[in-house]
């Protein structure tokens, strides 16, 4: 397998996992958490680089830790409570500022510094994955997808009707934490493919498209994964054919073009998320 085969293997698994997880991210209106994780992914990766460690160590440690912290903080403050815009903006920009410091430390360090590390962490570098890295990424992607599907049913109920889920004995809080943990892992995974700055697009675009196409949650979940996979394949092919097009940008722009196409085609006919609430309750009741 050449570099394209590696990219295809890793990218496909990452896309499916991101499509599935992204569906819940959009349904649960947790795009903010995804945004937070994208900032942290950048800083985590560069902190590892500055310390001379493998980038992935920093990526996974930082995103999972922050995802769980977000979950615990959210739970402690009661459902729905969120910090205000100003606080969020200030903390996010500081996290990036910290990343800049690590970037500078790495660039001025003696450890064979090269100028591409910022581009790699921010916008992905899927074509430079080695066979071993690609296999590991694929394995994690598959594991994430399986884990999400395993909790999909109760998570769906908890996402659309928490009181009902609680009454049915679903551990809503624990599920929320597990989901954020999965999101953290997926953010670290996706950073390798499309980069920290673009991973939000991979989470939001396929899911947003699927929600416009169907109100059935299981069909939507499958559709979201499928759209993410298609966007990944078309994006990678485009980037491979036209050498100057970076793969991360290509994948995200294809995914967004898909959303725009669907929006133009069906207008405002299906408002997924609202429909899902009623449709999903029916599906689950059955």
């Amino acid at each position: 397998m050449g570099f394209f085969g590696n990219a295809l293997l890793a990218g496909s698994c990452i896309a499916v996992a991101s499509g599935l997880i992204g569906y819940f991210v959009v349904l649960r209106v947790q795009v903010f958490a995804g945004d937070a994780l994208s900032h942290v992914a950048f800083t985590g990766a560069l902190a590892a680089a500055a310390a001379g460690l493998d980038l992935r160590v920093g990526l996974f440690a930082a995103t999972v830790a922050v995802a769980l912290a977000l979950g615990i903080a959210g739970g402690a403050r009661g459902a729905g409570a969120q910090a205000d815009d100003a606080t969020i903006g200030m903390v996010f920009v500081w996290v990036l500022g910290l990343g800049v410091l690590f970037l500078d430390i790495f660039n001025t360090g003696a450890s064979g510094a090269n100028g591409t590390i910022a581009a790699r962490t921010l916008f992905g570098s899927i074509f430079s994955l080695t066979a071993g890295e690609a296999q590991l990424a694929a394995l994690i992607g598959v594991a994430l997808a399986v884990a999400l599907l395993a909790i999909a049913r109760p998570l769906l109920l908890a996402s659309i009707d928490a009181p009902l889920a609680l009454a049915r004995g679903v551990p809503v809080r624990a599920l929320g934490l597990v989901f954020l943990g999965l999101l953290g892992l997926d953010a670290a995974e996706a950073t390798q493919a499309v980069g920290a700055l673009l991973l939000l697009g991979l989470l939001a675009a396929p899911a947003g498209t699927a929600l416009r196409l169907t109100a059935n949650p299981y069909r939507g979940l499958a559709l979201s994964a499928l759209i993410a996979l298609l966007a990944m394949w078309v994006g990678l092919a485009l980037a491979d054919l036209v050498g100057t097009v970076p793969p991360g940008s290509a994948v995200i722009l294809v995914a967004i073009a898909g959303y725009c196409g669907v929006s133009l085609w069906d207008g405002a006919r299906v408002d997924g998320a609202r429909g899902v609430r009623s449709a999903a309750v029916d599906t689950i009741e059955r």
Partner: protein, 281 residues
Amino acid sequence: MSPHLTFNLYSDVHQLLAYQFMVNALQAAGIVAVTAAAVGWFMVVRAETFAGHTLSMMSFPGAAAAALAGLPLAWGYFAFCGVGALLIAGSSRRGRPRSLSRQSAVVGMVGAGALAVGYLLLSLYGGVLESLETLLFGSILGVTRGEVLTLAIVGVCAIAFLAIVGRPLFFASVDRSLAAAGGVPVGVLSVAFLFVLGLAVAATAQITGVLLVFALLLAPAAIARELTPRVGLGLALSVLLGLVIAWVGLGLSYFTNDPAGFFVTSIALALFVAARLVRSL
């Protein structure tokens, strides 16, 4: 002689101003800090933080497109932010009620899309390695006299706009329907303000970099709002804080050789946390 920080303020300032590039950088940062702090204060009052964030993302493809077309980067910043502001104004004025989850999906897509286009343009330009970090995180080196002049003109225009319409704008921001009933053209004002916000973001992005715009646009205003609800005092405090954050950040960067972005954002967050603590006492 390499610069080093002493406890003698006079000597520190003297060292800071020893090189022309540093004088340019301090002037540019000062102009931008004042403009961003004043516009940012209205942004916070009007709860349009998100528009500021989106506009800062849009400035990245703007700069990249200008680089690709061989034009001055400033043109790209101002053109994309100006047009972006009008687009935001147009899309929010139609005001079709949307579901929360679709809105958040669109938010995620707009940000990621703008950055993806910017990176694509930059790759086509072929200058990725040198300019990417500068565009995203700013650089205090290489601000020319011409750029300082451009920033000054834009800054003066923005401040003049706020000085002229500040009173009705504040009125419209606090109570839109009452202001409309009182004869204030709220629709025109909100479009005009978004446009000025776009210009301020474009100016700020040229100094702090695209990703760190909030350090000068949001931070001073948010801190001032924590400390005082008064209009005049709040604006003055915001401008003062903006200058402190920008100049102290640049100064520390000069003396330590660490990136300005780190100091600027750290000072901003530290002051914000301190203001929160002061208020909760």
